[in-house]
Symmetry: C2
Subunit: 232 residues, 2 copies
Amino acid sequence: MAYLDRTSETIGQQRVTGRAVREVAKTPTARVQRHEQHHVIFYEGDQAERIFELQDGIVMLYKLLPDGRRQVVEILNRGMIFGTAGGERYDCSAETLTPVRLAVHDRREVDASAVLQSHVAKCLMSQMERLHEHAMLLGRKSAMERVASYLIRMVPNRGGEGCTGPLSETCDPHDLVLTMTRQEIADYLGLTIETVSRVISELKRRGVIRLERQDRIHVTRVCGLCQLTGIH
Amino acid sequence: MAYLDRTSETIGQQRVTGRAVREVAKTPTARVQRHEQHHVIFYEGDQAERIFELQDGIVMLYKLLPDGRRQVVEILNRGMIFGTAGGERYDCSAETLTPVRLAVHDRREVDASAVLQSHVAKCLMSQMERLHEHAMLLGRKSAMERVASYLIRMVPNRGGEGCTGPLSETCDPHDLVLTMTRQEIADYLGLTIETVSRVISELKRRGVIRLERQDRIHVTRVCGLCQLTGIH
DNA sequence: CGAATAATTGAGGCCTATCAAACCGCGTGG
DNA sequence: CCACGCGGTTTGATAGGCCTCAATTATTCG
């Protein structure tokens, strides 16, 4: 998976991977922001003046079409970077899915600091892999495979290449909590809310999962779920 | 669009955007590679030891599922970076669509060089925007919108936000050459080869395009095409 | 406890995939 | 020169998966 070996170093701490870099950034002490759940951090089209590092919580990035269709393009968790922009403006909106804590950097500050740029590069490489994986999901997977892939991602040590299949010990049942509504999941997976719901019901019917509550899922057969993702 | 303001600086030239960075990379003179059309530069799963910058030509990155389904995740052109990896191995394969010239860097070389990292970060930010755009295409657009979006990308100054619509002067007819086969286009757009073909035929029928040859398209009505992309 | 919101379920239709066949351009060789 | 074969493309018929619209049920919260 994408976020395996990213050490959870924060920008503020100024740790550097690889060879030491003599140049030290001027004002590396990032401002810290906190936001409640369902708070929009910035909108698509806003002037891209800041770059954010997610210290805690979950953030989603999404894009809209003029007619209202929405695509959630990234789900970010601890340690990931967002607010990077190729041009002048943000290409997507950023909204919190949980309460979050952010490290905020001015864009110019990042441009000027080799340490920050290095850190950003590292993070972006990992995030790019997740985007590739997600392109595969959106372009080539069935609804069942998409939902299974989505769920398995929340089971630690599962869903990746290293997933050794049924022989592994990690096939135990597992509980997980959904931080996204059906609508948000649908917009992430390129499906409709109804299809997501139907697939979840089908998974229940097959005995792969059990719903404790709408947002609490007990995965009875982790391996069964894994085999539905299309990657085995 | 993603690749508007990327200056076409190459890594080897050692130019730095933003504030000057005192630290100079040790061996910034990249090795140069050339490859023919349809040559695989690396495979998904290979040890990720090198990072590439595309100096000339076109490269595609793709992922495969065990059952053979393929998703082309990126189409790269001049100035773009690939071969970046979050982990030990490449998450996708890289194949040339035309003859190409590459600047090749050892991964450790990049890790050690602030200048290179900075350059990589810049490029990745732009490429990430393209991936977001593509996620929208794959998740939310119809076949017609996908093909129209694909074609309009090859018309300079079109398809982006700044596309001012029919009032603009740039509505002239335009010729373009496809570097991808129908199969590659289909795998990029998350469609089948038949659907791509049918949509192209439909565009012919509507008088939006004309096929000079299978890989040469004359866009009769650029604005008409633009309006079919879903972004207007 | 009841209203508002979110999720599920059902019926039907559309869009795209699938399977199959025809077509086209092009190089080869009789 | 033209038949031939080959790979890629187009077109057709059909089926199926997911979307749409609508109604019902569950959940949340005042």
